[in-house]
Amino acid sequence: MNSKLGLLIRLALIRPRFTIGYLIVASVLLVAILAPIIAPYSPTEADSQNFLQPPSAAHLFGTDNVGMDIFSRAIYAPRIDLTIAILGTLLSSVIGSSIGAVVGFYGSGRGIRVWLSFAIMRAADVLQAFPIFVFAIALVASLGQSIQTVVLAIAFVNAPIYLRLMRSQVLSIRSMRYVEASQVNGLSDTRTIIRHVIPNAMAPVLAQLSINIGWGIVLTAALSFVGAGVRAPTPEWGSMIAMGFQNVVTGQWWPSMIPGAMLAITVFGFSLVGASIEFLVDPSKRRELLSQARERRGHAGVPMEDA
């Protein structure tokens, strides 16, 4: 683990944008955790005397159309958004990759298992063929509007990605000699999958996680924006943008633009982290990057340092 951490730092140094990604994600997490300490006002209490105040010393990011402090709301919001996105993504990766592992392991040969895995793959096709957003709204409409439903929507929408990813990994790992050895050794299929197949197939799944958390935040905000996600007084970026967007035309930009910018930066940060994990877990990509960096340093005449 220590060497992984060292590698992470080296990668961050070679590619400054990875550093930016880590910094963004770290500060968003920190702000979300420390929100009750930092926030000058309650995120849900309206001060009806001071609505639509422009940014000032009293209200750093101004107030919205019912008089709630935008700074306080904007730093409370990631608590909801991140929780939903992380839970949804974790749920989808657990569901998707475990089904994908089984489908990949049993999906060839003959018999009922093949038909079953064929059916599962076509069901995943159907799921993915729907526009994600329409599918999520349909899910919220049929299950009722709540945070749990949004988590479920994210889980369902992303599950086929993990299913496919895991299946393709398992297909190649399944025929590896060490998997055959484990079967000869008398281990059950379940034990073989848990012991050998999944650990060796996990790398790209981990890289996908961070990217999907970013998407999950966007989806949460989008659902809330159209009123299908988190409801208004709860601090959440999407619903904040929705509350304020009518005032933008009349010149009061801050109720929408501030949460919008924070949303964009956060998603950007998670994408960068995802990209860096991809480098971290893919040995060939990693080698390429490290050798590039070495070359560049060599050209600049700076002595090479070995880690």
Partner: protein, 355 residues
């Protein structure tokens, strides 16, 4: 002690996806292995020798025929699960791919012990014993496969196979991915283990000089059939099947004065296992061919003690080649050179089955 493994008239046909045709990988293989004996299974690539090995360890279901381990029918592997656990083991050709890159060596070696329901302490002790058996340093237990050389990796593969003290080990070309030094060490190791534990081996290989070195008996495979089977000494010194003879003449011994005399040279291409000819599979390539060969499959003929041949003209084949002792000379020479590493008393002599 009774026979360890009995294969009777084994067939394996693989269906081709999107076609009604099948690949006829094994076409009626019968063989037996006695306790403490090494049977060398030789043949060129695609002759079905690996498929036989995989049927024995249960990675492939045979299409027809039976495999018995002692008295247990391996078609009912699940029913005999308890008594069979750890009795038949496999060593792979590719040492690197046969070890999980994310598991420590100790973990890999102890894996076959898991279904045996032993306590932790026993598992640890037997894992350490197995590591010592293959002469690896105890500190390698915590290493990962990528930190090992391929010779060491193959030792780990052997330790994993031996940790359950199996009665039969299928060695699927265990030395062909190794350099000559590592190969000699592995062969020496296998022979030492056999002499200590009386383990039976099925040694699958296309490397005939290695096979001669380790085997008591030899079975020559061609297109899914065993064309000749007998003691290593007789098959190597006086082959009675044109294919064995041709195969032997293709061997180059690593010694300038040693040459294998043979008048048999096989012409043409090996027939496709999808579309096998009627009669003897070798008829189109055989210099001894007669009309009968093209219509009739030669039956197994017993030509000596535990020596069978599938050839109508085996007498002529035997007579055409001067009985040569080349391999024996080579082995003596090799033993002399390896004198220090090969323990005395482990000569691969003709095995006499106890009945």
């Amino acid at each position: 002690m009774s026979t360890v493994l009995t294969i009777d008239n084994l067939y394996k046909h693989f269906p081709i996806a999107g076609s009604k045709q099948v690949v006829q990988a094994i076409n009626g293989v019968s063989l037996t292995i006695e306790p403490g004996e090494t049977l060398g299974l030789v043949g060129e690539s695609g002759s079905g020798k690996t498929t036989v090995g995989r049927c024995i360890v249960g990675l492939i279901e045979p299409s027809a025929g039976t495999i018995h381990f002692r008295d247990a029918d391996l078609a009912l592997r699940q029913r005999h699960k308890r008594e069979l656990a750890g009795k038949i083991q496999l060593v792979f050709q590719e040492p690197n791919e046969s070890l999980d890159p994310r598991r420590k060596i100790g973990d890999t070696i102890s894996e076959p012990l898991l279904p045996l329901r032993l306590d932790r302490e026993t598992r640890r002790r037997r894992t350490a014993d197995a590591l010592r058996l293959v002469r690896l340093q105890p500190d390698l237990l915590d290493a990962y496969p990528s930190e090992l050389s391929s010779g060491q990796q193959q030792r780990v593969g052997i330790a994993r196979a031996m940790v359950t003290e199996p009665e039969l080990v299928v060695l699927d070309e265990p030395t062909s991915a190794l350099d000559p030094t590592a190969r000699a060490e592995i062969i020496d190791l296998l022979r030492r283990i056999q002499s200590e534990r009386h383990t039976a081996y099925l040694f699958i290989s296309h490397d005939l000089s290695t096979v001669r070195f380790i085997s008591h008996r030899v079975a020559v495979m061609y297109l899914g059939m065993i064309v000749e089977q007998g003691s290593a000494e007789t098959v190597f010194n006086r082959p009675q099947h044109p294919y064995s003879s041709g195969l032997l003449s293709s061997v180059m011994l690593p010694h300038p004065h040693l040459k294998i005399e043979s008048s048999v040279s096989l012409k043409g291409e090996i027939p496709s296992p999808i579309n096998l000819p009627k009669g003897c599979f070798l008829a189109s390539r055989c210099p001894f061919v007669i009309d009968r060969c093209r219509h009739e499959m030669p039956p197994a003929e017993t030509v000596g003690e535990r020596h069978t041949v599938h050839c109508f003209r085996h007498k002529d084949v035997a007579a055409s080649v001067p009985a040569s002792d080349t391999f024996n000379v080579f082995m003596k020479e090799a033993e002399r050179i390896l004198g220090r590493t090969v323990p005395s008393g482990v000569k691969p002599s003709l095995h006499q089955p106890t009945t």
